[in-house]
Symmetry: C2
Subunit: 283 residues, 2 copies
Amino acid sequence: MYDTAIIGTGPAGMSAAINLKLHNKDIIWFGAQELSDKVRKSEKIANYPGMGLVTGEELNQRMEAHREEMELAITDRMVTNITKTKKGYMLLAENEIYEAKTLLLATGVITAKGFEGEAELLGRGVSYCATCDGFLYKEKNLAVFCAAPRYEHEVEYLAGIAGKVYLHTSYGESGIDLPNVERLDKPIRKILGEERVSGVELADGGERNVDGVFILRNAVAPATLLPGLAMDGAHIVVDRMQATNHPGCYAAGDCTGRPYQIAKAVGEGNVAAHSILEYLAEE
Amino acid sequence: MYDTAIIGTGPAGMSAAINLKLHNKDIIWFGAQELSDKVRKSEKIANYPGMGLVTGEELNQRMEAHREEMELAITDRMVTNITKTKKGYMLLAENEIYEAKTLLLATGVITAKGFEGEAELLGRGVSYCATCDGFLYKEKNLAVFCAAPRYEHEVEYLAGIAGKVYLHTSYGESGIDLPNVERLDKPIRKILGEERVSGVELADGGERNVDGVFILRNAVAPATLLPGLAMDGAHIVVDRMQATNHPGCYAAGDCTGRPYQIAKAVGEGNVAAHSILEYLAEE
């Protein structure tokens, strides 16, 4: 059982991971090896004190160098479900189970709204995890939304199981060239179905009949991840110590609200790590 | 009238100053040209994300380089009193008056307690400002507590007015060599007097009769600076947007509470700057 599970490799998760490692805590840190897409894609950053004017790419490289120096390992698996247990938290990430005494949500903010029908049909044809649920769709038809090239291997995995895959990506051309994968030019507007998923409606009004919809996005909305988490709109409610309404569960960075800023994120990650240290000491 | 007066040139003040300057606000920024003594004197800093393992001196130099790049000017005057006015805040700094619509307190935390009798006799013989009150003590005897070499010019100024100056420094040997300045080896333990200052008691029980006591410290306790400021012990009470109980007055960094960390300070300075931008936009 880990001391802490951190979800998110942006500046907030990084700040917390560094501090917990310095205090010799046993952590598991989920997220992208490339750290933060949002930092990397920033053209210029002028307000991270001490860095001067840098490109997002440069700052992300500095973060990566710091991670290496601290020998912090990243587990590049998508956490799709978290359950509160007696001892702490149980996390499901691509069919593996992890347990931790405390939890830090540093997932970033989900700026894109979910698809219409997504929340309603989750677990009834809608899935966030190809490795977990793909086997259910042998020879069946699927729609897949892919938000980043790093999820393309999951699309290929699904194509190996399913009869047909309708694919839409948020980033244009994909590297996937398989006979049973059909590219949708129009975005998915709505997930259709009553009891279970029956199809998807596209932005041009066209429909495709499918048995399942896989949504491969950078992050899952926090309240979907961890049921009962107190939210204020898209943001997790935290106090000044970054505590959420669940004991032992903290949140930091963009997911707790504006301003969406790197300095704010590292500050909150630092505070959350110190709160976690206190919580673990009291246990 | 300035948009914002920032007090403190540590990481919190720096973070706020950068952000307000980027938004073309007219700011006055009070504090030491050397930025943060606390950062500079840190042996090693490992948990400021993106910097790797650095010495405090290195990190302070990086902050200084960023300040220069942003062309941010520092006013090296000690603010000793702040008054709420209709339009904002009026600050007294070494006999000069400054006015600002909003205020950011980034003073650091006063870890040293005040002297016994200090608060009680403030304005009745106890002063924080040589330039302001020195002229009252022509040919009289003074005790002076000096917390940093950068205040020695104020001690020399007082010695030019007073009959005799009993000096204690918190840093050992001073550079002052004047016939009417006597070095006290023992620290001041208590400021004596009923209606007004009558003397000081030293740690060895010895006493010196003086008419005034000048305390030249890095920072004045926030509630002494700005009467009515809501405090929780030594810390200024703020909400998640860094707002204090006074409209238009914000606080950031160590002065708002633990953890006393650079990352936390830059995060809070960033959030405070964004709150100030919103406040100014609404005015």
